[in-house]
Structure formats: structure tokens, C-alpha cells
């Protein structure tokens, strides 16, 4: 509902109305102008301009840029489509489609499709997961799936991301984080991690850009979990965050001391472990809540990353809510450089181009 996915690629944003309907779902490309262009007061220069859009069948559940021109879109009908953005005449066209990549039981039944809930790309490979518990590995320009793991999970897979070039991470609705090695032929995960306590469904997952053993997941209860996948089967930290489902979690790609989460409760939080409290001037805490939190960690290790550190004097985290008047759910966010984009259920997208100002 509303705006369900945003994905940032350099100058353009792709936004979609993730509405459930036979009628009017669209993928839209917007231009937010030069990322480096700042006005006199540091204010953003004008509103995003709609460049082009195209009808989409079914809700858009997830999407990602495959390269500068192509976007992979996951649909609630179970289809996975690659759209190409033609920059010369500003149009979008459907380039390739895998019909019913995800389906329940009877693929040929009219209602047989199952929602494809997550997609991740590493050109030319595309991995998708869905409500049917299936994992597909596609290659752009190849008609058939390279590999399909049927019944990989007995519950719904909510999100997928790459751990390494041949390994992926998935999260499901019974609170499990699984590692799959795509080189191996067996249809079993190589490792399973689960939350302590109640098996709260996990909705999103992201891996630290530089330190590949650090993984963050977000749950249905709004809790942020940090995992060290080299050791143990339980999370390293559990951080009480949102009051409702956490839909997306992202490490900042070039500044990974910063983490962003968005939620059904209408808030978008910026988690900052970059400096200790004494260094950071307090007037930079703008709006929203600002709390500090210690991470729990009983595992003895000498890791550099602040996400896993257990030194009480050092690991103070600044958490800021970036939305002053929250109303409806923030469904999706993405970040690139100083630019943050997010979409809400009020059918609006917001662009913040001075994240670290």
C-alpha cells in the first residue's frame, strides 16, 4: 500500500505504488537532480521530477537496480520482471519476465502465484525469495532459472541478501536467519540462526558492507538484531527499536557506522555508532527521540566494529528519528552518499539530500 519500495541509483530514484490492485500499480522513475548541487542555504533544489512510469501487474513487493539501466521488480503475483529505463527518450519497458517464479502447489492455476517477497542482484545474477518458501537463482538474459530450491523453508521467506558472491542470507517468518551456499547442490541451508525467546518473524536483513560477518535483521516486533555469523547461533545484540514491524534495514554503503531502519509505526531511525558521545556536539540531535543504548555482548572478542563492541565507555550509539510528524508506515528506504530516500503509505516519497549536514 502506498509507496512500497524505493531504490536509489546515482541520479535517479525508482519508486513504485505498491498497491494491491488490478488497476493502477506503477513503477516510476524520478529525477532528484545533481546530488552534489546544494543551494545557498544548503536546501534542496526543487522537487523530484517524474521522468517516466509504467504499469505493473500486482503489488511491487521489492525491487533493485541491476545496473544503471535495469531494475528487477518482485511482484505479488509471483512474477519477477526486469524493466529497462531508456534514458534517451525517458521511457520504461519490460525487458524480461519470469512468470510465476513463485507459486503455491499448482503453478498453472489462475490464483496459483505466490508473492515474491524479496529480490537481490549482483549483476548478472538475481536471487529471489517468496511466500512459497522457494529460492530462485536467475541470470539476466537467461530464460530459465539457473537454480531453484523448492521448499527451502516451510514458512514465508521475507528477505534475501548476498553474504558473499556465492552465499546468500535469508530471513523467514519463524524468526530464522539462514545461510545458503549456492555452490553446493544440496537443498539445505549451511547454517541456521534463530532468535532467542519467541520466534518473532524477521522481515529484513542487511550485511555490513566491509565486515562480512556482521549482519543486521529487523523483526515484526520492531526489534533490531545484530548477528556475528562467525560464532554462535544467536544474535549478538538485541536493540529495542520500533513499535511495529521493521520493514527495512540498511547499513550505509560507504559509511557503515551508520544504520537506517524504517517501520510500520511511521518512523525512520538513524543509528550512529561513529563517534563517542563526548566528541559529538549535542546541537546536532535534531527532532525526534535521541537515546543511547548499550549493546549486550557476552562473547569475548577483539573486533574493531562498534556494532559488536562491548566496551561500555566506547559503544554509545546515537539514535535519531528522522521523521518529525509521523503518521503512516514508512515502507522502504534507500541511501547513497548523503542522500536518503524513503516512501510512505501516504503515497509520498521523501528525499533528504543532506544526511550528514
Amino acid at each position: 500500500d502506498g509507496t512500497s519500495c524505493v531504490s536509489v541509483c546515482a541520479r535517479c530514484l525508482a519508486k513504485s505504488d505498491g498497491v494491491i490492485s488490478i488497476q493502477d500499480n506503477r513503477i516510476s522513475i524520478w529525477s532528484v537532480g545533481d546530488l552534489g548541487n546544494v543551494g545557498l542555504n544548503g536546501e534542496y533544489q526543487g522537487e523530484p521530477q517524474l521522468l517516466c512510469d509504467i504499469r505493473h501487474n500486482g503489488d511491487v513487493m521489492d525491487m533493485q537496480f541491476l545496473d544503471q539501466e535495469r531494475i528487477v521488480v518482485a511482484s505479488s503475483t509471483g512474477n519477477v520482471t526486469i524493466f529497462r529505463h531508456h534514458q534517451n527518450n525517458q521511457t520504461l519497458s519490460a525487458n524480461q519476465r519470469w512468470e510465476k517464479a513463485h507459486y503455491h502447489v499448482d503453478r498453472d492455476a489462475s490464483c496459483g502465484g505466490a508473492a515474491c517477497t524479496g529480490v537481490i542482484c549482483s549483476n548478472p545474477e538475481i536471487v529471489t525469495v517468496g511466500e512459497d518458501g522457494r529460492i530462485n537463482l536467475f541470470r539476466a538474459d537467461q530464460k530459465d532459472a539457473v537454480r531453484t530450491i523448492d521448499n527451502a523453508d516451510s514458512s514465508t521467506l521475507h528477505a534475501v541478501t548476498f553474504l558473499r558472491t556465492t552465499e546468500i542470507l535469508t530471513v523467514n517468518s519463524i524468526g530464522q536467519l539462514k545461510i545458503w551456499d549456492l555452490r553446493q547442490q544440496r537443498n539445505e541451508p549451511s547454517q541456521i540462526f534463530s532468535l532467542t525467546g519467541d520466534r518473532v518473524p524477521l522481515h529484513c536483513v542487511d550485511r555490513h558492507p566491509n565486515q562480512q560477518h556482521i549482519v543486521a535483521t529487523g523483526g515484526q516486533d520492531g526489534m533490531l538484531s545484530i548477528w556475528d555469523i562467525r560464532q554462535g547461533t544467536m544474535p549478538v545484540s538485541l536493540l529495542n527499536a520500533h513499535e511495529a514491524e521493521m520493514w527495512e534495514v540498511h547499513f550505509h554503503p560507504s559509511n557503515p557506522d551508520h544504520l537506517f531502519t524504517c517501520s510500520e509505526d511511521g518512523s525512520l531511525w538513524h543509528w550512529d555508532t561513529s563517534t563517542s558521545v563526548s566528541e559529538k556536539p549535542s546541537f546536532l540531535h535534531q527532532g525526534g527521540r535521541s537515546t543511547t543504548y548499550f549493546s549486550h555482548n557476552t562473547i569475548n572478542q577483539s573486533v574493531v566494529s562498534a556494532w559488536l563492541s562491548n566496551d561500555p565507555t566506547k559503544d554509545r550509539m546515537e539514535i535519531t528519528n528522522l521523521i518529525p510528524n509521523q503518521t503512516l508506515s514508512v515502507n522502504s528506504l534507500d541511501i547513497l552518499g548523503p542522500c536518503l530516500v524513503y516512501g510512505t503509505d501516504a503515497e509520498a516519497i521523501y528525499v533528504n539530500r543532506h544526511l550528514f549536514a
Binding site: 500500500d1 502506498g2 512500497s4 505504488d17 498497491v19 494491491i20 490492485s21 488497476q23 493502477d24 503489488d59 513487493m61 505479488s76 503455491h104 502447489v105 505466490a114 508473492a115 517477497t117 511466500e131 512459497d132 518458501g133 521448499n151 523453508d153 516451510s154 514458512s155 514465508t156 523467514n172 517468518s173 519463524i174 524468526g175 530464522q176 539462514k178 541451508p189 541456521i192 534463530s194 532468535l195 532467542t196 525467546g197 519467541d198 520466534r199 518473524p201 515484526q220 511495529a244 514491524e245 510500520e264 510528524n325 503518521t327 503512516l328 508506515s329 503509505d345 501516504a346 503515497e347 509520498a348
Partner: protein
């Protein structure tokens, strides 16, 4: 609204509200939702004047949203290639324009409640903003090389005068003066009159009485010039002078330049009664409309609505708007705003709720038929104290849930409002769907969310059934990782423990496995129907070379077996097929043998 006559047999063609599906109107709904919520949340922190300023700002926000929507709609109309679509968009533009016109008037009269003096100024602004049929003509004349020679020159001057735009009128007059030396004197005098015309001030620089006095003097001066025949040689300027004097006939002659009766009304007031009080408007309004229409045409719906506003008949305004407009957006939001201004008496409608709530309920219900705008509807229901909750409960269960994500959003809304019935119902629906698609893990996840023990039992039975049929467990990743959710239902606990038994057996930890197996039966965790299977599972343990079950345990097992067989009636025993009886026989034999071995073993003294 007519109610169907139960005695008549009719077929009613029902159609969904089309408006909510128009793409450009969605922006209107979404943004006005934000303004609405902001208004509800802004409790009366301020009182008196600052509250009024706040409410006026809210009103202006609504209007700017309407205007933005109008712009988009206009763009869409211009770029639409399909003539039907073009006409639909154009109609929408006029409707939106009318809505803004009405809203603006209501803002002046009710929200701001402009008093005598500023009232006129506001009305002038209102007219200038909305009567734009003459804009093209004005542009044409102003941009021509020699405006004073243009054939429509005097029309434009008249327009400015009629709208009280004195500076612009004077500017054009100066062009006439420089182009036409013979009229320089007349132009100078007229210019002077226009410059000196007293207007009400917005601030407190003068009282009404002062203003009236000045105006009286000015009026007399104009009168003298007219009677002296100063403008006799130029009919245009003479007619302008007459207009300045508020001569109704002179003003009426310029009907085409005013295009509407309410323009006529405001011009009349400007030149005959600039300090008009709000309550006096009704008389002028009625007579203006009569004079302007002159019996030739009858009032349109828009005219009736505006008239009701000038008469300060709020309920009439709302009623007429409800009839004239095709969806509830306008009346719902306007009424809510007026309610916040404390202008609506809370006289109850016949079924008990008040007008504001009734309209909001209607509007929100309309939103629920839309595939994505229903989320806005939730917030509107939240702010209807009487029936909002009931409406929400009924509507929320009927939202189609075709993805899990949508179901989760609906669930979250229900949980936040303690709508437990709906939570249970939705979780059950989703769990059933998952079960039918063989997604047992998903089904379990939904049961856990609803804390639905009965359903968890159902799922466990499914697993156990699969096991009995296939001889192995499906979805081990689920069963092995149940965690505390195992305790949701006894059957689920049994499933988890039973799987644990198999695991222990697989790891050759036989005595632990044996203990667990026995415990499953003696602690009544296992359902009776499964005991036979459990006992059969005990067979390989009994047949091991090493004695596993102690004497105590063997007695327990025997007791279980006897309980099981004794429970069957003779008839059932008769119907048991050979396999069943053979199983029982084998068990009895194995148990007896084990007992023998274990008695000997336990009775034997360990060698030192």
C-alpha cells in the same frame, strides 16, 4: 436520500464511487488526510485569537491542496488524448474550482469570521481570485502596443474598477491621458477621485465610524462632479463615475464583465456600503442575485450554496453541498473544520450521531472500498467517537488480503486498537490459506501471532499425520527450531518432543531417548491416538542387545499397553485387523522378554 420502498420490486444498479479511482484526486485525499490528522491532534493549546489564526491556517492549507490538485488535473486534461478522458478531467477541474470557491467564502465568513471593514477586503480578494473569465481580455489589452487605442480598453478599465483595483485602473487612465489630450482634465479628476477613495483598513489604523465619515465626504465629492457634468463628454468616464457612486443600474450595465451575481454583490457593497456587517450580507445577497439574474435564469446549485453561506445558514450549506457533490470529501472536511470552530450545534440526527461524525463516517467508508486509500480511512474512523470503532471493526475484516504484508498491516491496526476478535479472525484466515498451500511453517507463524492454541494443534496433527504416512518428518527446520512457541499447544509440545526423541535415537543416546519416550506417554503429553505409534517406536529399543528400559520403566510400558488395549471395546477388537493384533502381540512379547532380562540384570550383583 431516498429510501427504497420495500413494497416495490426494483432492481438497483449499484456503482462504486468512481471519484476515488481518479489518479490525481488521490493526492487530494492523501494530503488532506495529513491536514485532518494535524487538526485533530492540535488540541486547543491556544485559545481565542491564536486558535482562530491556527484554524484559518488549516483552512488555507486545505485550499492550497485543492488548488494543487486542480493544477494537476488541468495538466492531465491538457495532455489527455482520449476525448472522454479529457472531458472527465475538465469536469473535475470545474468541480474542484467550485469547491475552492465555496470553501474560500466559508473561510472568510465562518472560520475567520471577518468583521465589518476587513470583510469587504476579503470579499474583494475572493472575487478577484475566482472570476477569471476576463483575464485573457486584460492580458490582451495590456500587452498591445497602444492600449488606449484598443477597442476593449474601456472594458478593461471597467473590470479594474468593478473589482476595486484602483491602482491598475489609474495606470490605464494615465495612458489614455497621454494619448488623448482632450481628456487630460477629466482623467486627472477621475484619477484623483480613485486615489482618494477610502477603503477599510485591515489593521487598527481607523475606526469604522472614521472610515464611514471619510467615505461620506468622498461620495459627495463624486456626486458633485457628476452633477456638474464634468464627464458629460466622455460616456465611458461618466459611467465609471456612476459606478463609483454605487449606481446599481450603471453597475448592472457591465453584467458581462462581472459574469456572476456574487461579483455584482461585492461591487455593489464596495461602492455603496463598504462597512457592511456580516449579518447584513443576506439582504444584499438576495437582492443582488435577483437583480443580476433578472428572472431570466434560475439559480444553479452553486448559487444556492453561496446564498446559503451569505445567509449564514451553515447546515443549509452543508446539506446543499452534500447533494450537489458526488463524493463526501468536501463536506466531511469542511464540517470537521467548522466543528472545530465550535460553529455547529450538536443537534443529533435521527440515528444519534452528530453531523460531523455522520459525514466523516460516510467519507471514510467510501475510502475503504479503495485498494490502498483504506489506510487513510482508519484514521478518520479513529476520530469518530460514537460509531467509529464499530465501523472500523466491520470494514477492516473485509479488506482483501492477498499478500502477507497487507495482512500484517491490517493486523497491526487491529492490535493497536485492541480489536482481538478481528486479530483472531484474520490470523485464522491467513493460517488456513497457508495450510491449504502446504506452508506449515507459515501457518504456525500465524497461529503464534494470534496465540491460537487450537490452530497450533491442528497444524501439529498435520505434521504427525504426514509422519505416519511418510515415515519421516517434513519441514525439520521448523520442528527442530520451535523454541518457546512449542508451549503454545500441547500437541505442538508433543511434536517437538517427539522429534527430539527421534534425534536422540539417531544420535544413539538410547537411554535418554527411552526416558523421553516413556515420559511422553506417562505425562500425557502424547495424544492417546498416538500411543500405538510410540509403543511401536519402543520396539527397537526393547530389541537392543543392551538392556535399555529398567524394570520400573518396563512395567510402565506394559501398563500403557494394557490401558490402550483395555480401552477398546470388544467390537473394536473384533474389527482390528491382523496387523493390529500382531503388533500388540509382538509388543507383549518384547516387553516380557525385556522384563525378564532386566530383572536378571538388576538382580545381579556387580562384580567387585
Amino acid at each position: 436520500r431516498a429510501r427504497p420502498d420495500p413494497r416495490s420490486s426494483c432492481v438497483f444498479v449499484v456503482r462504486k464511487d468512481q471519484d476515488i479511482y481518479i489518479q490525481t484526486l488521490r493526492k487530494l485525499f492523501n494530503e488532506s488526510h495529513g491536514i485532518f490528522i494535524g487538526l485533530q491532534r492540535s488540541e486547543e493549546e491556544f485559545a481565542g485569537k491564536s486558535r482562530k489564526t491556527q484554524l484559518v491556517q488549516v483552512s488555507k492549507n486545505y485550499r492550497s491542496v485543492i488548488r494543487a490538485c486542480m493544477e494537476d488535473m488541468h495538466q492531465a486534461a491538457v495532455s489527455a488524448r482520449d476525448p472522454a478522458l479529457h472531458s472527465q478531467y475538465s469536469t473535475q477541474v470545474s468541480i474542484l474550482s467550485a469547491m475552492e470557491l465555496i470553501w474560500n467564502l466559508c473561510e472568510i465568513l465562518f472560520v475567520e469570521a471577518a468583521v465589518a471593514g476587513p470583510l469587504l477586503l476579503r470579499l474583494l480578494d475572493w472575487v478577484r481570485l475566482h472570476v477569471c473569465d476576463v483575464d485573457n481580455m486584460v492580458r490582451e489589452v495590456l500587452s498591445s502596443e497602444n492600449p488606449s487605442k484598443h477597442e476593449l480598453f474601456w472594458n478593461v478599465v471597467d473590470v479594474f474598477v468593478l473589482q476595486g483595483r484602483m491602482d491598475e485602473a489609474r495606470h490605464l487612465l494615465s495612458k489614455e491621458a497621454s494619448a488623448n489630450p482632450t481628456s487630460v482634465n477629466m482623467c486627472r479628476i477621475l484619477d484623483d477621485l480613485m486615489k482618494k477613495m477610502p477603503v477599510p483598513s485591515l489593521g487598527n489604523t481607523q475606526t469604522l465610524t472614521e472610515m464611514e465619515l471619510k467615505w461620506q465626504h468622498w461620495h459627495e465629492e463624486c456626486q458633485r462632479y457628476l452633477q456638474d457634468g464634468t464627464f458629460a463628454s466622455n460616456s465611458h468616464m461618466e459611467s465609471i463615475c456612476k459606478i463609483l457612486l454605487g449606481d446599481e443600474n450603471a453597475i448592472l450595465e457591465k453584467k458581462e464583465l462581472m459574469t456572476t451575481w456574487y461579483h455584482f454583490l461585492v461591487t455593489r457593497l464596495l461602492y455603496s456600503h463598504p462597512t457592511v456587517k456580516p449579518m447584513e450580507l443576506r439582504f444584499y445577497a438576495q437582492s443582488s442575485m435577483d437583480l443580476f439574474l433578472g428572472g431570466e435564469s434560475s439559480p444553479e446549485p452553486l448559487d444556492t450554496i453561496l446564498m446559503a453561506a451569505f445567509e449564514f445558514e451553515l447546515h443549509q450549506v452543508i446539506k446543499e453541498c452534500s447533494i450537489a457533490l458526488s463524493n463526501w470529501w468536501f463536506v466531511a472536511h469542511l464540517t470537521d473544520l467548522l466543528d472545530h470552530c465550535k460553529l455547529l450545534q450538536s443537534h443529533n440526527l435521527y440515528f444519534g450521531s452528530n453531523m460531523r461524525e455522520f459525514l466523516l463516517l460516510e467519507y471514510a467508508s467510501g475510502l475503504f472500498s479503495h485498494y490502498s486509500l483504506w489506510q487513510l480511512g482508519v484514521d478518520y474512523f479513529d476520530h469518530c467517537p460514537e460509531y467509529g470503532r464499530v465501523y472500523l471493526e466491520l470494514h477492516i475484516e473485509r479488506i482483501p488480503l492477498n499478500t502477507e504484508q497487507k495482512a500484517l498491516k491490517v493486523l497491526r491496526i487491529c492490535e493497536q486498537r485492541q480489536m482481538h476478535e478481528q486479530v483472531r479472525s484474520i490470523c485464522k484466515i491467513m493460517a488456513m490459506k497457508a495450510l491449504r498451500n502446504n506452508r506449515l511453517g507459515s501457518a504456525l507463524s500465524w497461529s503464534i501471532r494470534a496465540k491460537d492454541a487450537a490452530f497450533a494443534t491442528l497444524i501439529s496433527d498435520r505434521f504427525l499425520k504426514d509422519y505416519c504416512e511418510k515415515g519421516c518428518f517434513s519441514d525439520l527446520d521448523l520442528i527442530d527450531n520451535l523454541g518457546p512457541s512449542m508451549l503454545l499447544s500441547d500437541r505442538l509440545t508433543f511434536l517437538g518432543k517427539y522429534r527430539e526423541f527421534h534425534r536422540l535415537y539417531g544420535e544413539k543416546r538410547f537411554s535418554e531417548a527411552a526416558k523421553l519416550l516413556l515420559m511422553l506417554m506417562t505425562a500425557h503429553i502424547a495424544p492417546c491416538s498416538f500411543w500405538m505409534t510410540l509403543l511401536t517406536d519402543a520396539l527397537p529399543l526393547l530389541e537392543q542387545k543392551e538392556v535399555i528400559f529398567s524394570a520400573e520403566q518396563t512395567y510402565e510400558l506394559m501398563r500403557c499397553l494394557e490401558d490402550l488395549t483395555a480401552g477398546k471395546s470388544d467390537k473394536q477388537k473384533f474389527q482390528d485387523d491382523d496387523v493390529e493384533t500382531m503388533k500388540v502381540e509382538m509388543l507383549r512379547l518384547a516387553l516380557a522378554r525385556n522384563l525378564a532380562r532386566v530383572i536378571v540384570k538388576e538382580g545381579t550383583l556387580e562384580g567387585s
